[in-house]
């Protein structure tokens, strides 16, 4: 459905840098009225930044964004007022308020400070009717509605504010399968009303159902833009993914040892009956979209978060699931996804951060041995190529990549039986990335079984000996290295059917 309307929103040469990191490079495209534009790209491709720019939450470093030919205002509030609304992945409603109050949140009609009830109800009902919720009682507490209905109510909230441009960020990520079609139907209806819609998703199949046009981002650059008819899934996937990543992570053949970890039927928050194994010296990748349960599975296996059922054995000996201390005692160590939040004590020195939790080498009878600690810290600094001035420097002064090396070093120095690296290269530059993976290869070569996941699927495929593909908390496939095929894996991860006979676990 193409319309002759001129472009409503137009982005020209939009660039954005955070410090020295450029996340968007001169991106330009237009959003037309009566058109659904699909925006795709891997995590870190720049989609979120682009959305933040469109919402007015952040300003581009260069380039222009215009609405009806006029510059887009620079505050979220003003952007909403001119008719551009962003609907985020997570619900932003207030559960204890009624449907009516939520739909009119911050937008009640009032005269002299007194709410005009009848007018308000009329407007809310009108907005809700456009998203197919016209039949729901306005006074229902919104918490009693389904997630899908609440999502639609969020859209209605934007419509009441007379939005002409809607940005939908992963709108179906929290929805059960059967509700996805309902949402897509609503989106089609709004497009036919003439709204310009930017639809951002990982689910490629949805795009082929709903989008009129696709814009593809990779590493902050626009690498593809064209009407839907020009795209098919393989082309799209090839456009999304960079091809030259293999070289950055030289995978080496390793002699794998005995099976170290066996986990069976793990049920945990966000994990539904996962069974995995890992052998000594093996690097096992967990691949999945955001929210597929990669982090959750790692946290469940390593005792960091509670496990409701399932068994875990290490070297044949059962470990009590959900007990962090039991897991650490058996040599299961977890390096968290967010190093600043969970991995490091930023107020401490590099030296301190290297020894937290394991004082065997640097203390005697509970007393620290400062000289031994300093010697050991500088040895580790060298071994792990951490760029530091002194081990007694605050760890917060290091760059992100070097901070991550401290986390990796602390974990590796404890010679774990099984190490879990949750997105170890998040937010670090390419150089530091290969440095971090070099450490992980070394650790595996010393006989540790390693689990690794990343928001960058290519990266995992480059380093792993074997991968498990996760979708919606379940393991949907297990593939050895000689059967790694990006397109196939991405297809599986986005909930697609198992085509080429991947091993289903």
């Amino acid at each position: 459905m193409k319309s002759a309307d001129p472009a409503l929103v137009s982005l020209e040469g939009v660039s954005k840098s955070f410090g020295s990191v450029q996340v968007l490079h001169e991106v330009g495209f237009a959003l037309d009225g009566g058109t659904v534009t699909g925006l795709v790209g891997e995590n870190g491709a720049g989609k979120s930044t682009l959305i933040r720019i469109l919402s007015g939450a952040t300003a581009p470093s260069a380039g222009t964004v215009t609405l009806d030919g006029r510059p887009l205002p620079s505050t979220p509030h003003a952007v909403i007022a001119v008719g551009v609304s962003v609907i985020y992945q997570e619900l932003t409603d207030i559960p204890d308020m009624s449907l009516l109050e939520n739909v009119l949140l911050g937008n009640l009609t009032a005269r002299g400070g007194i709410k005009r009830q009848r007018e308000n109800r009329r407007r809310a009902r009108q907005g809700l009717a456009r998203v197919g919720l016209g039949h729901v009682d306005l006074d229902t507490p919104i918490r009693s509605l389904s997630i899908a209905q609440r999502q639609l109510a969020e859209i209605a909230r934007c419509l009441v504010r007379e939005a002409r441009v809607l940005v939908l960020d992963e709108p179906t990520s929290a929805l059960p399968e059967r509700d996805v079609e309902t949402l897509l139907e609503v989106v089609r209806g709004l497009r036919d009303e003439g709204l310009a819609i930017l639809y951002v998703t990982h689910h490629l199949d949805e795009l082929f159902e709903i989008a009129d046009r696709l814009v593809v981002l990779r590493d902050g650059r626009k690498v593809g833009d064209g009407p839907i008819a020009e795209w098919d899934e393989p082309t799209l996937v090839r456009t999304m993914l960079a091809k030259d990543l293999d070289e950055a992570y030289p995978w080496r053949e390793r002699a794998l040892g005995e099976t170290v970890l066996v986990a069976d039927g793990i049920q945990a928050p966000g994990v539904r009956g996962a069974s995995v194994t890992a052998r000594a010296a093996e690097i096992v990748g967990l691949v999945g979209l955001a929210g597929a349960g990669r982090t959750e599975l790692m946290r469940a296996l390593s005792g960091v978060s509670p496990v409701s059922s399932g068994t875990i054995t290490v070297d044949g000996i059962p470990v009590r699931p959900g007990s962090l201390r039991a897991a650490i005692r058996r040599g299961l160590l977890y390096a968290p996804e967010d190093r600043k939040q969970d991995g490091l004590v930023l107020t401490g020195s590099i030296e301190s951060n290297l020894f937290y939790g394991d004082y065997r080498e640097v203390s005697r009878f509970g007393m620290l041995r400062p000289r031994a600690a300093l010697r050991r810290a500088s040895r580790i600094g060298q071994d792990y190529s951490i760029r530091l001035r002194s081990p007694r420097q605050a760890v917060g002064e290091l760059s992100g990549g070097n901070q991550q090396k401290v986390v990796v070093a602390r974990l590796s120095e404890r010679a774990p039986r099984v190490a879990f690296f949750d997105d170890p290269t998040r937010g670090v530059d390419v150089g530091a990335k290969s440095g971090i993976y070099a450490q992980i290869f070394d650790l595996a070569e010393r006989g540790t079984a390693v689990f690794v996941c990343s928001s960058d699927t290519d990266e995992v495929l480059a380093v792993a000996d074997r991968v498990y593909v996760l979708a919606a908390g379940q393991i949907v496939a297990e593939l050895p290295r000689d059967r790694f095929e990006r397109e196939q894996i991405l297809h599986l991860a986005s909930g697609g059917a198992n085509q080429n006979g991947a091993v289903k676990s």
Partner: protein
């Protein structure tokens, strides 16, 4: 010191490292403040810079100082102990009653320490295992402990305590008050524990980032519990000194002491956000408060102003702490 991306770090001498650490921590400005205030006071009043007045300051600071030792542990874990004043009163009162009843000062000392440690354990268990907010828990315990003290004593003081119980707070060894000696010795021990033991290291880790500490395998709850018990025990020692100084237990003893204790710790550069602080800083904070109190008294300033000045000092210290923390976060955010 090389800034180039060599991996081999270069080290200064041990002394240089200690010096740099002192500058890096927040102690430097308060040392300067202590010196300036002391110099000013020695000009303003002839009585300030006399040997007897200076020992007097240390003796006067003993109760707050010893309680501040425990509070330093608690605040580094990013907690707070508001119950310290009423803990001093309760443990002192029960100890005095026990000592009178048995006519044995040692029994009294034992009871004081056990009760004080028990109150600390209640605080610690509530924070560590019941996951209650330290501020609220210790506020509640503060009320309960003071209420118990008043109830048990029926609002009456207990006088004429056995000699052993008074010894710590009232006698002297070679002209030096035992209370001053005890204060110094306890600071030395606490400094060692905090800076040179694995337990001290864990205290900083827990306060700096409890989740990171947990993931690294540190028993976070155990550390928090221990910190509050230590704070209880130091409150007990402070109570014994107070008993000796007054030769009595009064139900309103140490009323409001928590404010001075927290002030001393925070002025000494320990961050209310946790993870940062030192015993040396607390000692200097205690001395600064002691010197200011003493100076204001010597200058015949109304005691109402003394309280105001203490409040203002806390305000300044917290402001400084907040600035420092924000600077660190900004630097690490990039």
């Amino acid at each position: 010191m090389s800034q180039s991306p060599v991996t081999a770090p270069s080290f200064g001498s041990q002394a240089a490292t200690v010096g740099r650490r002192m500058v890096n921590s927040n102690i430097a400005p308060i040392i300067v403040a202590l010196v300036i205030v002391s110099v000013a006071l020695s000009f303003l009043t002839p009585n300030f810079l006399t040997a007897s007045n200076l020992t007097n300051i240390v003796t006067q600071s003993a109760v707050v100082g010893i309680a501040a030792i425990g509070a330093t542990f608690v605040i580094i874990t990013s907690g707070i102990d508001l119950a310290v004043g009423s803990n001093i009163a309760l443990s002192g009162m029960l100890g005095a009653i026990a000592a009178k009843a048995t006519d044995n000062g040692f029994v009294g000392i034992l009871v004081v320490i056990l009760v004080a440690a028990g109150v600390g354990a209640v605080n610690g268990a509530s924070v560590a295992w019941l996951r209650l907010a330290p501020f609220i828990v210790t506020l509640a315990v503060m009320g309960m402990a003071r209420g118990l003290t008043l109830q048990i004593s029926q609002g009456q003081s207990v006088y004429s305590l056995p000699g052993e119980l008074n010894w710590l707070g009232s006698s002297a060894i070679l002209d030096v008050k035992t209370s001053a000696l005890v204060t110094v010795v306890m600071f030395l021990i606490a400094h060692f524990v905090l800076s040179r033991t694995t337990f001290g290291h864990r205290v900083y880790a827990v306060g700096g980032n409890a989740e990171a500490a947990r993931l690294a395998g540190i028993n976070v709850r155990g550390v928090i519990f221990a910190a509050y018990v230590i704070a209880g025990i130091t409150a007990g020692v402070a109570a014994i000194i107070l008993l000796g100084r007054l030769d009595s237990a009064t139900p309103n003893a140490a009323n409001g002491t928590e404010l001075q204790v927290i002030a001393a710790v925070v002025i000494g550069g320990t961050s209310l956000f946790g993870g940062k602080g030192s015993m040396l800083g607390t000692l200097i904070g205690v001395l600064l408060i002691g010197v200011i109190n003493n100076g204001l008294t010597l200058l015949n300033v109304s005691s109402f102003w003394v309280q105001f000045v203490q409040g203002a000092l806390i305000f300044l210290a917290v402001l400084l702490d907040s600035f420092n923390t924000r600077r660190l976060t900004r630097r690490t955010a990039s």
